[in-house]
């Protein structure tokens, strides 16, 4: 019994030590080290919705130029990043937001969470890629746009060729029944920009757009919660056509998957990846440096390797585009979109899904 008692005493002691050490580690992690704070040094926290592999690539370039700025990145889907920012509104953890949808930026702006800032080189940015104020609250980098990701192997099995899929109406082909996947507009930014684009293209004062979706519904096998999921599903052959955005298809193509990217002939719905400074008591000067870099020629050239449409309007052509890539984008009435958002989503829930 004495042995047993000693045994448990040792157990208890080690437990106490363990918990103590844990506490120590925990408190150790929290203390921010006193780093120098200047426009070219220090640690900044960046929230972004840019795809992970691109984040690494872009940050390498940034750090080659600014080796003393340590960038901590929180990356997630646009929705999760925005929700996290909103929840943290009382005490923002992020210094800046990088590459997150303009529609999210408008929400953050409405809550007074963004600090107006005119980054260096702002004059090169096309007017449609920045917020309207003289000193903008957000500035765009690239556009992401509706694209059909088509699995050519599976498409051939249905007796169709890639030339049969050119515009939105082609999605209504009877052969495609149950073979189209698109993101739901309420939970995915890509879904929402596609829906609003079609409503605008088909005439927003008529019901033509809604009738289109009503018919399209027969061919849809499911509405996903994520904008890139339809592209992934097309790549793995889980669906024949995924309505998604261009870059999601490009990444799959780079993997060697048999998919083609089709930009619909009538024009694509679009949103942009935008940057903004967070309004907080102590704005880190390096955050401004980062925002300047984020729209620099160097950064734009990097973006352009993966995104055909960049905010300076230039850029190289990619397969599938005829002429200037910016022309692929429809004339988006962001004010109309913002005003009708709830009504559109409510009608969608009522009539479509």
């Amino acid at each position: 019994m004495i042995h047993a008692e000693r045994y448990w005493k040792i157990q208890l002691a080690s437990l106490v030590i363990f918990v103590g050490m844990t506490m120590f580690v925990l408190s150790g992690c929290s203390g921010n080290s006193n780093q120098e704070v200047s426009p070219t040094s220090g640690t900044i926290t960046v929230y972004t919705a840019i795809e992970s592999e691109l984040v690494t690539q872009f940050l390498e370039a940034f750090n080659a130029r600014y080796p003393d700025i340590n960038v901590n990145v929180v990356r997630d889907s646009t929705g999760v990043i925005t929700a996290r920012l909103i929840a943290e509104a009382n005490n923002p953890q992020a210094d800046l937001v990088w590459g997150t949808a303009a529609s999210s930026m408008m929400v953050l702006e409405g809550m007074g969470m963004l600090e107006p800032y005119a980054p260096e080189g702002l004059e090169h940015i096309l007017p449609m890629f920045r917020s309207e104020q003289e000193t903008p609250t957000w500035v765009g980098n690239v556009a992401w746009e509706t694209a059909f990701i088509v699995n050519t192997v599976e498409l051939a099995r249905l007796g169709l060729s890639i030339d049969d899929i050119r515009c939105y109406e082609d999605l209504l082909r009877p052969e495609l029944t149950g073979h189209v996947v698109m993101p739901a507009p309420a939970s995915s930014g890509t879904g929402f920009l596609t829906v609003t684009a079609i409503l605008q293209l088909f005439g927003r004062d008529t019901d033509a757009g809604w009738e289109f979706f009503d018919r399209l519904n027969n061919n849809i096998s499911q509405f996903t919660h994520s904008g890139s999921a339809p592209a992934t599903m097309a790549a793995t052959g889980e669906t024949v056509i995924g309505v998604s955005f261009g870059y999601a298809g490009i990444t799959q193509q780079r993997r060697g998957v048999p998919v083609e990217i089709i930009w619909p002939a009538m024009g694509s719905g679009w949103d942009m990846e935008a940057n903004a400074l967070m309004a907080k008591d102590n704005i880190h000067p390096a955050a401004r440096t980062f925002l300047d870099w984020a729209i620099s020629d160097e950064a734009m050239a990097l973006y352009n390797e993966s995104f055909p449409i960049i905010a300076t309007g230039g850029g190289n052509n990619m397969d599938g585009y005829i002429g200037n890539p910016v022309d692929q984008l429809i004339e988006n009435d962001f004010v109309w979109i913002a005003e009708n958002r709830e009504a559109i989503l409510a009608r969608w829930a009522r009539e479509i899904n």
Partner: protein, 557 residues
């Protein structure tokens, strides 16, 4: 009045009261207050003005949202039914028959809890998707939607059902069975009259645990739910799609209903369960029965085969270049993209899970002890028991957002924890609290109440009794709890997505990101790594158990 106060004080033990209050205060801090900061929004507009029940009215006026409730109840009921039936039969086979390879079957049953729920869905897609292995053999099911959801929820909840039944069925009173045998009672009658009442308490718990887990799970519906909306996906849409925290809070409160019902049912059945185990029980001797053994062996084999098929499908995805278009074998999928956390996230996961398991085990066991063994103070222990069951019904997203709202205010004294591994540990300890609490309570119920009475009458302090008697006697349960915390923390996703710090990523989040980015094969590869670690830890646990049994035997002899 003062007389009565004095009487009351003399009946209670001040030390106990303090410890009990401390435990409750901890729960208030990590659960009640954070939840309040989110759920208060259910009664506020998005501009944070008080609007009473307006949000609930708006919710029930929206048919699309309303339909999700029925969808959720539908799949949860079906899931609870199948998991309970299969869980029971499987546990029965391993405890009350003489089939072979019992240890093997016991392990296989746990496979699903060793990988994230998102991955169950991935595995099912590899099997039953349009390009799935089984679909290609010509057997087609409509995977995306209701059927896929039910399948993946049954896979997810089966191990929990099995484990709870296993523990109960393992302790049988052989005397009862000998007695009815002597009376010549038919096997079926014996089953209905003895075995079922024996597991009645567990049965009710299992049904509610499975129901609640299926009710609130989010991983599977996101990947495989298709257009079939459930409450958990609606919650995601409201918070991360429409940024409508008020409506999100409304759905969050609706998700709590099954847990509160479970609590009420639990209170009723708890009383009926008193004194089920006795110190005079003898070991059950299982009679030979060829027919029975063949039946159960086939059943276990089929279930085990299904789980192996799931893992096999994942391996197929992880080790081939590009399923199904390029089937060359490769290890490239294990070269993880550093942007998604890389292999470092895998070691971070292990660190976080070890700390969670250590902290969680101590907290849960001490908490359960206070709830189970405190004399009097029933009002407080009732509150404590209600607290213990709620975490099961909290989707990770609710915990994540609540933690941000509560801990990320500069005035909160615990604000320093925000953005550290500490907040991740707290979120995990809370997320997985309910099942370990049930395990600990079950173990403590088996300890004779006499211990407490004797120590009280001999004025031996309770804490001494606790660590010299209760802890050693419950050591298997404590290890079980440690295991559960470790394994669950390795695979959890949704709360952490909102709380992780950029410098400390964990593997389960990496998997979610890989899956979302379309790196399905890498997600499968990372899941296999997690599976291997979880199996290894489980093996260590088994070794520890054998060692303990060996030592106790030696001491007895």
């Amino acid at each position: 009045m003062i007389e009565r106060m004095k009487q009351w004080i003399s009946r209670i033990n001040i030390g106990q009261l303090i410890v009990l209050c401390f435990m409750l205060a901890m729960m208030v801090m990590i659960m009640v207050l954070p939840l309040f900061s989110l759920f208060a929004r259910a009664f506020q507009s998005n501009a944070e003005e008080f609007v009473g029940l307006e949000n609930y009215q708006a919710y029930f006026r929206t048919p699309a949202l309303f339909r999700s409730i029925w969808n959720t109840i539908d799949i949860s009921l079906v899931t609870a039914f199948f998991s309970t039936v299969f869980g029971f039969l499987y546990a029965y086979a391993l405890t009350r028959t003489r089939i072979r390879f019992k240890t093997f079957f016991r392990y296989v049953a746990l496979i699903p809890i060793f990988i994230p729920t998102v991955v169950h869905a991935l595995g099912l897609i590899y099997l039953f998707g349009r390009q799935g292995v089984i679909t290609r053999m010509g057997f087609e099911i409509e995977l995306y939607g209701r059927i896929g959801l039910i399948l993946s929820q049954v896979i997810y909840t089966f191990p929990q059902a099995f484990l709870m039944f296993f523990v109960t069925l393992e302790y049988a009173d052989g005397r009862l069975y000998e007695a009815v045998e002597a009376m010549g009672v038919k096997p079926l009658t014996r089953f209905i009259k003895i075995t079922l009442p024996e597991v009645k308490f567990t049965l009710i718990n299992v049904i509610f645990v499975c129901f609640t887990l299926a009710f609130t799970d989010f991983g599977a519906p996101m990947v495989i739910g298709g257009s079939f909306n459930v409450l958990a996906t609606d919650l995601h849409t409201q918070i991360a799609g429409l940024f409508n925290f008020s409506m999100g809070a409304v759905i969050g409160t609706l998700l709590l209903t099954p847990a509160i019902m479970a609590f009420i049912v639990n209170r009723i059945t708890n009383v009926a369960n008193m004194g089920a185990m006795s110190a005079k029980s003898t070991k059950l001797i299982i009679k030979k029965s060829r027919g029975r053994d063949v039946f159960f062996f086939i059943l276990c084999s089929v279930i085990a085969f299904c789980f192996f098929a799931l893992i096999g499908a994942l391996a197929l995805g992880a080790f081939t270049t590009l399923y199904p278009f390029n089937m060359t074998l490769t290890l490239d999928n294990f070269r993880f993209n550093p942007a998604q956390g890389g292999i470092g996230s895998f070691f971070n996961s292990i660190t976080m899970s070890l700390i969670t398991a250590a902290v969680g085990t101590v907290f849960v066991f001490a908490y359960s002890y206070m709830m189970e063994k405190t004399n009097g103070l029933t009002a407080l222990t009732k509150i404590g028991k209600l607290f213990s069951i709620l975490p099961m019904a909290l989707p990770g997203m609710v915990i994540g957002i609540s933690f941000i709202l509560f801990f990320n205010t500069p005035t909160n004294p615990l604000n320093f924890l925000f953005g550290t591994i500490g907040i991740l540990v707290m979120a995990n300890v809370l997320s997985f609290f309910s099942v370990p609490f049930l395990t600990a309570t079950g173990a403590l119920k088996k300890l004779d109440k006499e211990f407490e009475s004797v120590s009280d009458s001999m004025s031996i302090p309770r804490w001494k009794l606790f660590y010299r008697v209760s802890v050693p006697l419950s050591f298997p349960a404590i290890l079980e709890i440690f295991m559960y915390y470790f394994v669950s923390s390795m695979v959890t996703i949704s709360a952490l997505v909102f709380l992780y710090n950029p410098t400390f990523r964990v593997a389960s989040i990496s998997i979610a990101h890989m899956q979302a980015a379309g790196d399905i094969a890498q997600a499968a590869a990372m899941s296999l790594l997690i599976l291997v670690v979880n199996v290894a830890v489980r093996l260590l646990y088994e070794l520890a158990m054998i060692f303990i049994k060996y030592k106790t035997k030696r001491r007895e002899s």
